[in-house]
Amino acid sequence: MAYYLGLVQLIGIHTLLGLSAYILMLTGQLSLGQAGFFAIGAYSAGILTVIFQLPILPALFIGALIAAFFAFLVGFPALRVKGLMLVVATIAFSEFVRLFFFNLSWRVPRGDIVVGPDSTNGFREIRYFVANGWSAWEITAFVWVFVVLVMALLWWSDRSRTGSVLRAVGEDELAAQSVGVNLTAVKVAAMTAGGFIAGIGGGLYAHTATYVDHLTFTVLLATFAIAYPILGGLSSVFGTLVAVIFIQGVLVEGLRFLGDWRNIVFGLMIIAAMNLKPSGLFDAPTARILKRAIGLDERGKTGA
């Protein structure tokens, strides 16, 4: 049971990671830096609960703020230029963060042991949940409160002016600009929000895993982050959730019998998916067909 709860926690955390890329992708931008923001959130929140002994909520919040700050810092120069520049800047940033934590050693004595990030050996002892006697159920519920909150917030904002502005920039920058949308401001705002969400996800990850090291936050993780919304399509936040459940729940667990070959299949599947469905597996037409099939879309019934 504990194993499945762990999987449910992981799905929740990866949904946050995917949503952090999703909000930026609404504006038509692709970031390979989500792993970096995730890492900043993870290490910051971990350091705050372990070294500064803050409770979990303020630690998560401050960690997410730090991640958002760096997202702003990276996004601002990169987004002024052009779309592909952001890909390069964020992949460089992600590697920079990884190398930074690879080098970071900040050990403090706590009781009879020494705790804190220990460069290559990673950051162990993030044992807030254990120390405070949280059960696996409580931890899972805690993670999913954040997932539901973020999804609700994004779902709601998608139906407000914010969502229209984001999607307008993503659909046609020139048209958006000509109706008075400040492109850089919108993209940087989306980037910052994405950094915040990834930061929360990272903080939760560090505390559920109790151990992080620099190898957790590679370009592969950043690829997962953008693979979820690409696979799930950008028509709604639920696409990302479905994609995470599909990849983490079905593929990663289901393909376990393939052993090491699983990662090769992962690369091939991305290529195949992009060739067959360039705008995502659950793109707008597919979503409409699905909705019609399960009777959610009223237009399909009355319109014909």
Partner: protein, 298 residues
């Protein structure tokens, strides 16, 4: 006075070695730039494919005992072939204006190539034959490593060869036409898909040489090089100005030289961090790169 002199010699020696090694970064940067120039897209698989080419060359050396120069030839051909396959798999059938899908597909191919390498080698580093590493030229207080000089020379020869193809052949004319205005090129009867495929193969050939050069200069081939080489290649491309070949050369040498300075002052663990910071310095102060045009083509 003496101390200062020795330090000065040390640092210039280090910068010189770095400049010579930077030629490999320049080649990788040129490859990214060629493809970006032709299609306006990033081929994230490029550096991994270059190293994969070097692995094939190494296999030729190990199993058939191929002579040193043939190793480079085999590397280049293998990488050119991989370039073609990557074009067909990740770019040919994806809509021209869908940048994200093509980028994502090539990231998928990057992991695919990387995993194949890890599987066939069990993830352990392999020794790569060095060329002329017994040669050491003495220039006053300086020593020039033979293997690095060889790397530099091959890089110059291949760059000149590429420029010749680009500017003195019908093929190059077609490539440049497509990169300037693909609609106009199509109206003139140029087969855009064929030209793009040729660009990928050309870039691949160059990449194979660069991959083998990197391996020869470092002395080992390891899957651990893939991502750093990809990132450095991309940084060189951006610093040089997206799509600019002279820019990629200048930026490659700059990154190579500075990298060694960072190595000297801060050690191997922190070296790459400063190279990455260099990108942000350029993004803030010179976002269009050294030779990039100020046109915002997305």
């Amino acid at each position: 006075m003496g101390d200062f002199w020795f330090e000065f010699v040390d640092i210039t020696q280090i910068v010189g070695d770095g400049l010579l090694f930077g030629a490999t970064y320049a080649l990788i940067g040129i490859g990214f730039s060629l493809i970006f120039g032709a299609m306006g897209k990033l081929n994230m698989t490029y550096a991994a494919a270059s190293l994969a080419g070097a692995y094939v060359g190494l296999a030729a050396f190990t199993f058939v005992d191929a002579p040193a120069l043939a190793v480079f030839l085999v590397s280049a051909l293998a990488s050119g072939l991989i370039g073609f396959v990557v074009y067909v798999a990740c770019f040919r059938f994806i809509p021209i204006n869908n940048h994200l899908a093509a980028l994502m597909a090539s990231v998928g191919a990057l992991f695919f190539v990387d995993e194949i390498i890890i599987h066939t080698t069990d993830g352990s580093p392999l020794t790569f034959p060095a060329m002329f590493d017994y040669v050491m030229l003495e220039l006053g207080p300086y020593g020039v490593r033979g293997d690095l000089l060889f790397v530099f020379a091959v890089c110059i020869i291949s760059t000149v060869g590429l420029l010749y193809v680009l500017y003195r052949s019908r093929l190059g004319l077609a490539t440049r036409a497509v990169s300037q205005q693909d609609v106009a090129a199509r109206l003139c009867g140029i087969d855009v898909h064929r030209t793009n495929a040729v660009t990928f193969v050309l870039a691949g050939l160059l990449g194979g040489i660069a991959g083998a050069m990197t391996a020869a200069a470092v002395g080992v081939l390891s899957p651990l090089i893939t991502i750093p080489l990809t990132v450095k290649g991309l940084i060189v491309t951006v610093i040089g100005g997206l799509g600019s070949i002279p820019g990629a050369i200048a930026a490659g040498l700059l990154v190579g030289g500075l990298e060694n300075v960072f190595l000297y002052f801060r050690g191997v663990n922190e070296r790459d961090m400063y190279v990455l910071l260099l990108l942000f310095v350029f993004l803030v102060f010179r976002p269009h790169g050294i030779f990039g045009s100020a046109i915002n083509r997305d």
